[in-house]
């Protein structure tokens, strides 16, 4: 029974690979990239900017402490007043500011970017398209 079971497992695994291959091509290869909203920058473009970016993490503190984009400064709505001085210490007018949140469904980054522009009167503020989720996709 064991040998038969293993043979069947292998067979089912191979059968599943066929529709999975088709799905991979249809869903991943042929899917056009999502258009950028106003003020957004793609992860690919932001990577090209390299050192000329000041990353701003708009997620919750626990997530920022666990994992973040290298050198990212924490600046979220919950800790805005306490975090702004730290952000201003890091701010460099020569660098673009790219704000990121959790993912595509998260509005936190757009909110922080808006406040940076409106309250601190900063230029060159961008929102990372797809947020932290998109950054990890490489």
């Amino acid at each position: 029974m064991m040998r038969r079971g293993l043979r069947e497992v292998a067979l089912l695994a191979v059968i599943a690979a066929l529709p999975a291959s088709v799905s991979a091509v249809v869903q991943l290869k042929w899917r056009p990239p999502a258009p950028l909203a106003e003020g957004e920058v793609s992860a690919a473009t932001a990577r090209l900017w390299g050192e000329k970016v000041l990353w701003v993490d708009a997620r919750a503190r626990a997530k920022w402490e666990r994992k973040k984009i290298g050198g990212a400064v924490l600046l979220n709505a919950e800790e805005w007043d306490a975090s702004v001085p730290r952000f201003l210490d890091e701010w460099d007018p020569e660098k673009a500011i790219v704000v990121y949140g959790d993912g595509a469904q998260d509005d936190a980054a757009a909110g922080v970017a808006h406040r940076l522009k409106e309250e601190l009167k900063l230029d060159g503020v961008w929102v990372l398209q797809g947020g932290w989720d998109a950054w990890q996709q490489r």
Binding site: M1, L12, A17, K63, G103, Q136, Q137
Partner: protein, 152 residues
Amino acid sequence: MIEIPEPKVIEWPLRLALGGVFVYAGVMKALDAQQFAIDIQHYELTPWTVSIVAAVYLPWLEIIAGVALLVRRFFVGAIALIGLMAAVFLVAIGSAWWRGLDITCGCFGREENRTNFGQHIALNLAMLVAAGVLFWLEWRARSDSPPPPHSQ
């Protein structure tokens, strides 16, 4: 004296429930593999390449194993695969809970609410037990059946 019900009385609802859950979960995930890859990535257990391969392959393995269980074809293999997948899901969800991750599990496609870890662990444990019971019933049925006649 306690009477043990006919194996079919136990097997049929278990097959229907377990196969149905796996087919449903597989279809919901297969519809948006990109989202499922992101959900897998949230567990912080795999690099992106592995997440994307798993996101494309795993839903179809769930569907095929679920259908095989429902129609009782490649039955032992289907039980083994479903038991194995339930065990893997159990470990992944348990480890996320242990590490205090604030994630959506992605078990049934895109979810808006944060995962209720206790509920998902209970569901996966139940599926693991169900797979175990189905395996035991099949093993018992095969043990009881007479051996094939030997040719002279």
